[in-house]
Symmetry: C3
């Protein structure tokens, strides 16, 4: 709160003093950003909240800790990102655009949260958010300001960062006692339905997520089309794979809850480019396939051999797909030329625009008024910068995650014991119908010896 | 995917090459269409998904097969409708408007799905979608291109088509063994609540559905008002009828889940016309009454005597109301005159505009710049064309439905046995709490001999 | 319906006749109001519906009676508010803006509903809505037309009015038999999750609620920022207080469902003013603290000593916070000056604008074209009028609530007996799994003697 008092003020679009007789109220940036902000809000609070409530005895915690962590992360990100991106005249200038950026930082924390779901106390989650946001903000600022990449859907900065940060944390928090699963690590009929609802909210609003920070106009239009196509193709693929590779051709709810979303991540890095609809379709299929087999083989493998217990399989849904997406982004950059894009290529790939003083810049500015001077990079140069960004993001997030893991493993962080994992009863006053159900089921689970080891 | 590779490209609003120095990014068609597209997405994936999850042991299937069928239908409709409506220069030109049209085709499939809910395997559903979309696209194209009707809310093309197609399919799939109900054809407390949530999502966003394809401006404004009024009046009527006609004045959840929505369909065909708010109010009451008594008397009747097992009662919610709506649309067309509408009558009823070369056209174009030449039809002529459209839509959909039913009845379609109907266990790996509940309840249901025969 | 027939017609933005060659369809007021209308619709029907379904055996009633009451209230409010605000040429002129206003009136009824949840029949609720809407509309009209206040977020007119009206009703409906709680006054695991979903929907769309009726442009921008900040800070505070003040540091779901929302109310009265982000942050904390301790101490106190059984604690979430908000609004008015606001101060505080004929008005109109003449009030005068509005609103609502309580206590209103309270079985045909669960749990509750007296 003290930070808000000292540093935060309104940006120009929210400051009454700066409105004058040439200001058309309907051209306020609000009307450009708010619809996308609202959609992302639904994703963060309702989509993620329902999706993370998939455990049978951990539904309160999944949904409520998501709420708590998200609220804290957004406030904290407004401050931290504010210092790096919206700080001038000694103040952070606040508008809906800041909130939107903060929501993206918040999504990063929530993805990382998925790796340790069920094994962390709310205090640990808040400390994780407290540390992850600055690491993310610095990485974001460094990559965007110095490496200068194209990453409209955030495949590199959001998904890869979040994934490797989360894996770093969970590596440190390794619990050998949970290697053979946990009696309460199970779903119920209602919790699975709730989780599918969360998936559907994410699915429906993902086009807004991927397109919120693109250029307006045709770029945003393409971003929405590509995300929709990518999600559709990955959904179809997920159903097909789930039916073919599971026992007796039955579908697994965990696949439907997670793998269907892979396409949204995979189109991310090239979402605003002219990659053609069929490429988005193919990316959806590739991402979904990688994600599906990741859940099937890679997650158990890294849990057993690398001591990384990735609870929600974020490495499949965000890591593998993020890598595919980044690679596709690099290909799209290498293939970009003026023939396909026309002069607006220099808007989308703004770093390829001629630098200030270049006569070609003036020529282009006749075609596109307001084109900003760039760095005059070639496609190959830009591709190399993308590669650099990928590696430095992964490095920063892994190191950050490991250090954060060490901090939240400290004894006074109230980490739950192995036995208390996946149990709402530790953190909440439970309604009277909870305990009886829990005991009964745990018993019958023990008897049958059935439990899901990876959901 | 191959089709996407060969045929699909961007439309002008999503093509970077066609943006030039006169293009204002904020005037991209995206910002006109996307908000309505997002609302319809919520209806399709979340509204329908929750609504169809009302069976106690078929909640996974209701929600997940809705997801699968919807995703497939939209992709397929983009291609098929693309060929008929957006095909030039050897390519389908893709924009958000195509997705919006495809969502409407998808709604058609999902309504038909309601007739066979619980009795079909996912393979059968996909084949149904595979066949229904082309029949729909051809009918839509023929009716809009040759008969040329006014049907902004899709009462004829969406609701009537979907209803009679679905009835055709279910007629062929007649299961005599289910005539006396099924032990699992029942709801639970949680599934009923989930289904009401679905209803509420449909209710809230229905104004967007009915107005998405109208002309912009006052037409869309009226469409939203009429839909809202129609839904409100049908909701009040549904509550009143449910309380009065059920045993001991108790409300039935099935009425609240379905009958409340009748008004949204009934205002459809005349939704953008100057029918006055009170007419929308009256249409809501009429549609709701027809729908309610349809559920009470007609559905059991056609199940017993016509061998049509209409699982969700789509004939009541979409058929009867669609017929009322079409009739009301014809009345509204007959009553339309320049006194009420002013010159913009020739925009709404575009086929009544004078043909090219008529001096009256030039006069009108002074009042309404950009008015397109029409066919010079009179109100009576237009009304007759509407009648023709109604009959040809019903004919095409019934025949299409019957043929589709024959195809999906083929032995290799993995149709579930009578006993396995309404049971998620056939298609999903179920969580451990499912089986025990199912067995227990089925037993107690058998003992009591209680089951709902029409929900 | 008769009223609709006689009195309701379209407003200028929905009337085809009034569109001419200077009308740009995209400038129709629809596109300004509809997005906010849709957001508020989600809050009313889905947010409130889920939130009020928190009782274990009263989920159907909570959600469905919310649906019924909301639909009825909106229709009724369109007529009643129409007569007071949109009546000219002998007709009520209807546009989306009327629906938006009616939704606010509907929110008033639903808040009051919270005070008597579980103890009233649907007939009583409809009569309550029937009487509350006119009292509200008259109060709103009198306060806005004669006292002329600033209250963009409706803290005074919506929250204070609704709270004291509801308390008046519940005072008359006092049931001494429920003083020691009721066996069915309890939640379940699923109902608590559903209720949190309702809270999240309200949380996510609250910025739209608070900003829907502000001036467009920077005012609306600030309203959204303040509401978001207020909600965030109150959410953090609610979690902290819940963990600190409950037994063994456990969180209580009722706190998370209600107290987190306090910030949205608290910023209401000053939501569009230049109060600075930190003030919004502080207001969120203050409102949340008052609300939390209200639930803990005040609700039991007024139930025992003042015979006011406030079922959902609306006095905490809307009354206390509304008072804080109104006070903050007065402070913000007293602090407002041209230095902070620039000349647009006379738009926000329109009653402080110079009256017609004042030379200063002409001067200001050069800076802000279209500035309307005001009343030339000073800040102190405006503050006094705000105080007057607060007291007259509380007086009108309390008297209205008491009288309404007397009416719905009449014997033929089918009020449920004490025993039948909080039980869906009284009003609904229940699914077969309901009764058994209910009996079993009630018994075990009785044995344990555990029940929540205030949720």
């Amino acid at each position: 709160m003290v930070f808000y008092a000292i540093f935060v003020t309104y940006d120009d679009n929210a400051n009454a003093k700066l409105q004058n007789n040439e200001t058309n109220p309907m051209e306020n940036s609000l009307y450009r950003d708010y619809p996308f902000f609202a959609d992302v809000q639904v994703m963060i609070f309702i989509g993620f909240g329902c999706l993370l409530a998939f455990f049978r005895f951990y539904g309160f915690s999944g949904m409520v800790f998501n709420f708590l962590t998200a609220t804290f992360s957004i406030q904290w990100a407004i401050l931290i990102q504010g210092f790096f991106q919206f700080f001038y005249d000694g103040k952070i200038h606040l508008g809906v655009i800041n909130l939107l950026n903060a929501e993206f930082a918040c999504a990063v924390v929530l993805i990382s949260f998925g790796a340790v779901l069920g094994k962390t106390s709310p205090v640990q989650l808040l400390v994780m958010a407290l540390l992850e946001i600055p690491v993310f903000a610095v990485t974001e600022w460094a990559v965007l300001k110095y490496i200068r990449i194209n990453d409209a859907g955030g495949s590199i900065l959001i998904h890869l960062f979040a994934c490797y940060f989360g894996l770093g944390v969970t590596f440190v928090l390794y619990r050998p006692g949970l290697n053979d699963g946990h009696a309460k690590e199970t779903t119920s009929y209602q919790s699975d339905i709730l989780s599918v609802m969360g998936t559907l909210f994410l699915w429906v609003f993902w086009p807004s997520f991927n397109s919120a920070l693109t250029l307006k106009g045709d770029d945003q239009h393409r971003a929405i089309l590509h995300t929709f196509i990518g999600l559709s193709s990955s959904t179809m693929t997920a159903f097909a794979l789930s039916a073919v590779f599971n026992r007796r051709g039955k579908l697994t709810m965990a696949d439907i809850q997670n793998v269907t979303l892979a396409g949204g991540v995979t189109v991310g890095a090239s979402v605003d480019m002219m990659i053609s609809p069929v490429a988005a379709y193919g990316l959806g299929i590739m991402g979904c396939t990688a994600c599906f087999f990741g859940y099937k083989y890679l997650t158990p493998f890294i849990a057993r051999h690398l001591r990384i217990q990735d609870q929600c399989g974020i490495h499949n849904l965000h890591g593998l797909t993020g890598l595919i997406s980044s690679t596709a982004g690099i290909c799209a950059i290498l293939l970009a030329n003026e023939e396909t894009y026309g002069p607006s290529m220099y808007q989308i790939f703004s770093h390829r625009a001629p630098p200030l003083g270049d006569p070609k810049l003036l020529e282009l500015q006749k075609l596109i008024p307001g084109l900003k001077p760039g760095l005059g990079r070639t496609a190959q140069e830009q591709a190399l910068y993308q590669v650099a960004a990928i590696f430095s993001t992964i490095a920063a997030s892994t190191v950050g995650g490991l250090l954060t893991g060490l901090v939240i493993k400290l004894p006074f962080m109230a980490s739950p014991t192995d036995e208390d994992c996946f149990d709402d009863g530790l953190f909440f006053d439970m309604p009277s119908d909870f305990e009886s159900v829990a005991i009964k089921t745990t018993k019958s689970c023990d008897e049958k010896g059935e439990m899901n080891s990876n959901v």
